[in-house]
Structures are given as C-alpha cells and as structure tokens.
C-alpha cells in the first residue's frame, strides 16, 4: 500500500518570521535538511538539495505566501528533474500562537508517482531511505530508545 499523506507538526518558541527564514533560507535549510541547498524562493523556482552521502535531488518551489505557507515538490530519485509523476509535494504551514509558532508539514503525492504499485512502494521506500541517513534505520532508532526487557 502506498501511503497517501504524512502530516507532522511542532510548536516552536520563536516568532513566525524567524521560523519562516529557517524553513526557506538555504543557509538554514542546510542545517535541518540537506548538507547544502540552493533555492529560488518563488513559484516555479528551482530547488537543489544536496546530500554528501546520497546525491543531489531536484525540487521545484510551488507556492510562497510569506510568512504562512511554503510548498515545494521534490524528485524521488537523485539526479532527475522534477515532474508530477516522479515527485512528492511538501507543504509547510506556519501559524502564530502568542509568541510561538505552530509549524505543520504535510507530504503528499506518493500515490501519484508513475509506475505500478510495487514500484511506487519502492519509490516511497527509496524516498524515505535517502532521508534516513541521519537518523538510522527506524528499528535501531526504536531499539535505542525503547527498553525491551522481554527480548534481552
């Protein structure tokens, strides 16, 4: 099964404008996402994300509504240009809450990837695999953080 939608959110103790700059400025993007980044912050603008261990992934800016909404598509495989059939959509929403900001990210479009279902699943897996480099396999991640008295 190809998952339709990933949604995550976090509350950040910083003003919306600051969070906006961290989410959209290449110098900051290289701090939370790829090892280096280049981004033309306007609809249709080109995004280039580079991971030293993974390669270069092409992206395309979709919507820019400073400072509340930013979306881009990114290709599932390194080295390919972005089109609807080989990319997923990532949408950031920023909402002020008192002096803090609620940041929501939604990733969709896995089911729109070209190819048969098993190929889509592979795309999905490969897409996530590229990004798990910094995190390690989830199993290890879980095992590291979860005592398993029954297994030892």
């Amino acid at each position: 099964m190809v998952p339709p939608r990933i949604e995550r959110e976090i509350v950040i103790d910083a003003p919306v404008e600051v969070v906006w700059s961290v989410v959209t400025e290449p110098e900051h993007i290289s701090g939370w996402f790829s090892d280096s980044a280049d981004l033309d912050l306007r609809p249709g603008g080109r995004a280039v994300l580079h991971w030293n261990d993974y390669g270069t992934v092409q992206g395309r800016v979709e919507r820019v509504e400073r400072p509340h909404f930013f979306s881009f598509r990114w290709a599932v495989d390194p080295g390919r240009d972005v089109d609807e059939g080989n990319s997923t959509l990532v949408e950031f929403s920023l909402r002020a809450e008192h002096d803090s900001t609620r940041l929501t990210v939604v990733e969709t479009g896995f089911q729109g990837l070209a190819g048969a279902d098993n190929e889509k699943q592979q795309h999905f897996d490969s897409h996530s695999r590229g990004w798990e480099l910094e995190l390690g396999e989830l199993g290890e991640y879980v095992a590291r953080r979860t005592p398993t008295p029954g297994d030892g």
Partner: protein, 123 residues
C-alpha cells in the same frame, strides 16, 4: 492482495490515526507509560487512550505488563518496524527535521532578543 500486503495495509490504518501516532511517539520518548500518563501528555481522555492502546495491542504494536495495580505499555520494536518501515520512517524523518528547525529557530530568536536587550541597554 497478498496476505503480507493485507497485513501491512491493516497496520497502516492502525498507525495512520494521528492520536495513535502520538501515543506511539510518547511511548518512544518515555520507553513505557500507563494510560493515565499518556492521557496526561495528550489532549484526549484516559478512556480514549485506553481504546487506542487496545487497537495498538491487537495490532501487536505495543505490549502491556502489569505491575501491581498499574498496567504499563511499551512499544514492540520489531513489529513497529515492520508496520512503519515506510510511513513512520517518513514521519520520523520529518519529526527529526522539525526538531532541527525548532532548535535553529529558537536559537535565532534568542540571539535576536539578546541583541535587542543590548541595544536597549546602550540607550
């Protein structure tokens, strides 16, 4: 659909629920927790947490151990790994990235606040 695919599909629907994912998140953070502790950390009642835990238990994603009058729940890592190899991996990746964004933004905000205070002190 193959039996394995059907099973993954079912696991999917179990972890697709946002509240259940948050229950799993808290369990990942704490190692183990009671329904009361979970209800204290999530915007849902203890009864709702108990229902979600029952679903997670049936799917084999959590295990419970009784200690005296308490029932403590913990993640079953192997099973969660199977269920979440695709979705929770992407979700966990985003969690890691959001945490990094939070860290950076809060540090920038603190630096700006310090800068403002310094400016005001000079006046």
């Amino acid at each position: 659909m193959s039996p394995v695919a059907a099973e993954v599909d079912e696991l999917w629907s179990v972890v697709a629920d946002p509240t259940r994912r948050r229950v799993l998140d808290v369990l990942l953070d704490r190692g183990e927790a009671t329904a009361t502790i979970l209800a204290g950390e999530l915007p849902v009642t203890r009864q709702a947490v108990a229902k979600h835990l029952a679903v997670l238990d049936r799917a084999g994603l959590v295990e419970s151990t009784r200690r005296g009058r308490e029932v403590r729940y913990a993640i079953r890592p192997q099973r969660l790994d199977a269920a979440t190899r695709s979705m929770a991996q992407v979700a966990a990746d985003w969690d890691a990235r959001l945490s990094a964004i939070k860290r950076i933004a809060e540090s920038v905000a603190r630096a700006q606040a310090t800068e403002r205070q310094t400016q005001e002190a000079k006046r």
